[in-house]
């Protein structure tokens, strides 16, 4: 599925970093950067060829729309209305008339060109600093035509990185649980889609209950919980081949799985005789290790990105709280001390924060705290929401939210939402059905 070859033909970096435009991402961004995304120019022949293959009238504009939507969704950019553009796409790509772009208050400009060459899609794009009148970046890609959306995501990643100084998160996918049917007999399927909600695919049929899929950070493997034959067990799924296997041979329920940062181990809970403890299994040599040993519930483990620590959820204090320990299970330390109950800790890919779900006075919150428990910040409050998952750059959290039912028990829905680390830019993530348990993949290309 991901057998794409991107050939980067040439890279022109800016000669000198002048006092060029930059996006301030340290605070909540209330003044997103005005950016003009000019439709990528395309010659008549290429246009016709792509129309035949992709059934899209103008693939140049389509790719630019992908970029535009990505930038807008990030909350850091304000893509300007194309109707106000004065310069034609082909001429703009050669040499923008900066006065024209300045006039519509664009601070940055993206131009580009699409060609059909040897049955391949070749895209080049340029990023311009309108105020300084300079080219900031130029790149070209060649790939199979079907990859056109990914080209838009990769362009966005490059632009985002150039303007914010952080890696992007657009050429990524979300695996989640698609939900249908009444609340008492919910049908759940694994589903996967691009980060922007496109290319949605169902990976299971809904015959058995499936929960909590999580990506391997280094490959296209997924671990999840399936109730196949009414035996809730952690499974491993290769999303390219569709091959599945049970993880380990446990005489009881295994659940709450996640990969270790290098993808070689699965960490999960195993419940037996009313007690849940945390275990790991090495995927190469199949060695199982018991990490916690406590009569309380120990679950929702998540590794630090360097693999040295694990954060997890335990009720050993009497109530659900967040703990950290060394990856061998030693030095267990409670880190959540605020009012309420804490669950679903998940370590940021940057390493400095732990995202969590908090229940306090009948409300659910998604929040972040430092890894020592200090600096707790609640990002969003609602009737029910949980299970944050980090974008691979540690900038955005995706989670699910459920609505309260009415007096007749109707009106239930579960949806995916995303929110910026700052607490700004909360957005509904569109899915074809109801959805829960999202997990964000790492960047597909680097």
């Amino acid at each position: 599925m991901i057998r794409f070859l991107f050939v980067i033909l040439f890279v022109i970096l800016p000669l000198k970093a002048f006092a060029l435009i930059e996006v301030d991402i340290t605070r909540g961004n209330l003044n997103p950067l005005p950016i003009a995304v000019s439709p990528l120019s395309i010659d008549e022949n290429s246009k016709k060829s792509f129309e035949k293959i992709l059934k899209k009238k103008n693939i140049g504009s389509e790719i630019s729309i992908v970029v535009e939507n990505n930038l807008k969704t990030s909350g850091l950019f304000n893509p300007l209305d194309k109707d106000a553009f004065l310069q034609a796409p082909d001429i703009a790509n050669l040499k923008p008339r900066f006065e024209d772009w300045n006039l519509i208050k664009a601070q940055a400009l993206i131009t580009g060109k699409v060609n059909f060459i040897d049955n391949k899609l070749r895209v080049e794009f340029r990023l311009w600093d309108v105020l300084a009148g300079k080219e900031m970046m130029a790149l070209a890609f060649t790939t199979v035509p079907n990859n056109w959306r990914r080209v838009g995501h990769i362009i966005t990643d490059k632009v985002y990185q150039r303007l914010t100084g952080e890696k992007g998160y657009f050429d990524t996918r979300i695996i989640y649980v698609a939900e249908e049917g009444p609340k008492t007999r919910r049908i759940k399927k694994l589903a996967i889609m691009d980060q922007d909600g496109e290319n949605n695919k169902f990976l299971t049929l809904g015959n058995e209950l499936v929960l909590t899929p999580r990506f391997n950070p280094t490959s296209q493997m997924v671990t999840y919980l399936s109730y196949f034959r009414n035996l809730p067990r952690v499974y491993l799924l290769d999303i390219e081949t569709g091959m599945q296997e049970v993880v380990g041979d446990f005489p009881g329920m295994t659940f709450a799985p996640r990969f270790s940062p290098e993808g070689k181990k699965i960490i999960m809970s195993f419940a037996k005789d009313g007690n849940s403890d945390i275990y790991t299994m090495d995927l190469e040599n199949r060695i199982v290790e018991k990490i916690t040993n406590h009569p309380s519930i120990d679950t929702s483990p998540s590794y630090s990105p360097d693999g040295k620590f694990i954060c997890f959820n335990s009720d050993r204090s009497g109530y659900q709280q967040i703990y950290i320990m060394k990856s061998d299970g030693s030095n267990v330390k409670r880190i959540s001390f605020g009012k309420g109950l804490y669950g679903t800790p998940v370590w940021s890919p940057r390493g400095d924060l732990i995202a969590f779900t908090k229940l306090h006075k009948g409300k659910f919150y998604i929040g972040v705290m430092r890894t020592d428990g200090s600096g707790e910040r609640l990002l969003t409050e609602n009737f029910y929401q949980e299970a944050p998952s980090w974008s691979p750059n540690g900038r955005v959290l995706i989670f699910y939210r459920e609505t309260k039912t009415d007096d007749k028990g109707e009106g239930f829905s579960a949806k995916l939402w995303s929110i910026d680390l700052t607490g700004y830019n909360e957005r509904l993530v569109n899915t074809p059905t109801d959805a829960s348990d999202p997990s964000w993949s790492s960047l597909l290309s680097n």
């Binding site: 009881g252 109530y319 009737f383 007096d407």
Partner: protein
């Protein structure tokens, strides 16, 4: 939220009556309890936040209820739950070929993974009790559904109390 204080007052009143009247006037107390049910609607079917009604209860055999209920975040068996489980144990002893699955559940007000563990803990509380009444662990398997299979889709304390349960299901 508003209903809590009312219930507390009623329980307080009942306790005082108990002290004064001891066991002599059970009927009087029953009447009070009944009138409390009538006026409180929702909370009348709960004691603390444990469900005490029969709306969702099914029967394994005549007089043998199939489920027990729990308080929020708890897996402790109430007096009523123990009575139900003793009836189940007696029935299982009489029907020695029957094997069962104990299905543990949680309400929707908790994170999914913790609730899976909590459901398992609840079902095991029931299992342990059945075992102390002579039912072999070979005849019992445990299955936690966490919050995945509520019986009541409501988003209110009464619905949640019905969903915090361990249900004994015949497996053969």
């Amino acid at each position: 939220m508003k209903k809590l204080p009312i219930r507390n007052i009623d329980q307080g009143a009942i306790m005082k009556l108990n002290k004064i009247l001891k066991n002599a006037f059970l009927i009087t107390i029953a009447c009070l309890a009944l009138s409390a049910c009538a006026t409180q609607k929702q909370t009348g079917q709960m004691q603390g936040d444990v469900y005490t009604g029969t709306d969702t209860v099914e029967y394994l055999a005549s007089g043998v209820p199939d489920r027990v209920f729990f308080a929020t975040n708890e897996s402790v068996l109430t007096t009523a739950s123990r009575e139900t489980l003793r009836k189940q144990a007696a029935w299982l002893r009489k029907n020695s070929k029957i094997t069962i699955v104990l299905e543990g559940h949680a309400d929707e007000r908790g994170t999914r993974e913790y609730n899976l563990a909590l459901g398992e803990r609840r079902a095991n509380a029931a299992k342990d009790y059945l075992m102390t009444y002579g039912i072999s662990s070979d005849r019992i398997s445990v299955l936690s559904y966490g919050k995945e299979r509520p019986v009541d889709s409501g988003s209110n304390p009464l619905a949640w109390s019905k969903n915090r349960r361990s249900v004994t299901v015949k497996a053969n």
